[in-house]
Amino acid sequence: MASQITNYQCPACTGPLHFVGASGKLECEYCGSKFSVQEIEALYADKVDAAEAAGVQAQSAEAAQAAEEYSFQQGAEGLKVYSCPSCGAELFCDETTAATSCPYCGNPTVVPGQFHGQRKPDYVLPFKLDKAAAVAALKNYYKGKKLLPRAFTDQNHIEEIRGVYVPFWLFDGRVSADIRYAATRVRSFTSGKYRITETDHYDVRRAGTLDFRRIPADGSTKMPDAMMDSIEPFDYSDLKPFSTAYLPGFLADIYDVSAKDASERAERRACNTSVAEMNATAAGYASCTPVSQTVEMPRIKAKYALLPVWMLATRWNGNSYLFAMNGQTGKLIGDLPVSMGRWWAWFFGIAGPLAAVLAAILFLM
């Protein structure tokens, strides 16, 4: 089991470092120093090497402290308890927590041990948008929502805003489809006093393969699937090989939904698209109805990636409202309350004048 928490500290002033999406660097809040991910990785790799040289076998408390490795104890109900390397406070975290921040001193901390072995992500997509952008996006999201209660915008306050690296499975695969259709072509003409309609019937078959790349499916039970699907797509050209250096300042979870379980969703999506693509190749008919189909994704490969998501929680009238924003593209989604008063106002506001205009046209003209 993982047993360490790492605090990425500024080499200049030992202040906590945060990864900043806009610059793509780790920045110190105190002295303003900026370091590239590669620099920090190299720096911490040296520290690890030094610790190894000091002697791995006798990992005393001092050595552990020097390496900023802190003991943990297994907590109750699936919780893990860590000690903050900065202030010593106890941090209660989920089993899946891989990066968090201390609620007392605010220091961002990473639990690299969570990423050991198969749990190490292949990729990470760094945040591009910061907290301010998420708040602005939420306010902008309220605009133009005709049925949003006025009091909601005035009274509701963001209770919590978290930048989360959500574990995603990215699936590659080839769909094999074999579909038969009953299709018709229709021709009409007149002969004498009759209109004759000739219908030619066809047995149509389409079979082939379609390749899909990096269909995402979130691997976290904490995240609503509909929300994670709705903030797609992510721009995969910015994917980086995984490094914990991208995590400081954000929360991160490891997956708790296996690739096998998540693959069902990806496979379903790929098959639906494949059927639609096959249908498109059977064009030119008056009607084309599938009569049998075999669509499957026999071989599917999964890569594990952490993708950036801003989660914003608000509370109004005793109800919680959760919003998610793509930390890379800024696409924000979330369900909003509906004012029935406004609904009826709009309803009659549209129906009334329209009825008056129609009445004028139909009865007076």
């Binding site: 133009g144 005709k146 049925l147 949003l148 074999d178 299709a183 007149t190 006093k193 009759y194 209109r195 004759i196 309609t197 000739e198 219908t199 030619d200 019937h201 066809y202 047995d203 149509v204 078959r205 389409r206 079979a207 082939g208 393969t209 379609l210 390749d211 899909f212 790349r213 990096r214 269909i215 609503p224 509909a226 929300m227 699907d229 709705s230 797609e232 990806a266 999506r269 790929a270 639906n272 698209t273 639609a276 693509e277 190749t281 059977a282 998610a324 989604i333 369900d335 909003l336 309350p337 509906v338 709009w346 309803f347 549209i350 129906a351 329209l354 009825a355 129609l358 139909l362 009865f363």
Partner: protein, 311 residues
Amino acid sequence: MKKRLFSLLLALLLLTLCLPAAFAEDAAPAEETASVEETAPVEESAAPVFPYVLDQAGLLSDGQREALEEKAAALSEQHDCSLYIVTVQDHTNYNYDVYEAAKGIFQYYDLGCGEDRDGVILLLSMNERDYAFAGHGGRGETICGNESSWLIEDEFLDNFRNNDWYGGFEDFLDACGAQLTKLENGEDIADGADIITGPDGLDYHSYNNPYETRQRSILPRLLAVILIPLAVALIVCSVFKGQMKTAKEATRADEYLVPHSINLRIKEDRFTHRTESRTLIETDSGHRSGGGGGGSSFHSGGGFSGRSGKF
């Protein structure tokens, strides 16, 4: 009675043999048919006594036919205007136009009574559910004129649409009798016909008048004024409501399909068979029509006036 029955059966037999043959020329217009008759004195002399009710399509029971025959005879005698009912399976055996077929039968058998050959003939053709009635002579033409013919048609059409043949024929006879009575009493035969002149300058009856229908159809307009705005408002509000719930689970993976990766291994389009359906084209023969389905046309000229349509 026996004699009368015998002569009736004989007439039926002769008519069955003669009617299709007489009109076998088919598409020949009424005028041509008349000229053929004029140059065929033999047929004129051989023309049998025509029954008032001739049911070639077999719509009536014997009892019903006899009852109608008696009623038609009584009314014809009472008003000096013969009222005939003829049913056939396919009027195109006589004339492509059902109205012309009715006229042709009337002329060929020299139907009607009196000097003017006053009479009205109702023809039903069952294959395509066509009907026509034509009036001849002073009385017949008057009650089948534009002002009055609607009233007669109104009486029987609903019965025929419900396959109530006997009721329809009875109503036809009653309506003709009523109009003839009005005519004899000097009453307005258009009374109740609610004639309105349309924008095209032609007279229309309330039953089939498109203009008057538009004027009188308050209910559909009222429904439109209520329902359309409600529907539009509901759609708009539903769109607004849809904006409030944006999180939806994805069902497709279009964005993750590798471009040009579709490898179509089998692409077969095999013709299996052909089916054919025929629909008779509705023609209005240049006449004014009150709309599809149950619309009817008014005809006038050549000593006849009347209406035709489908039931």
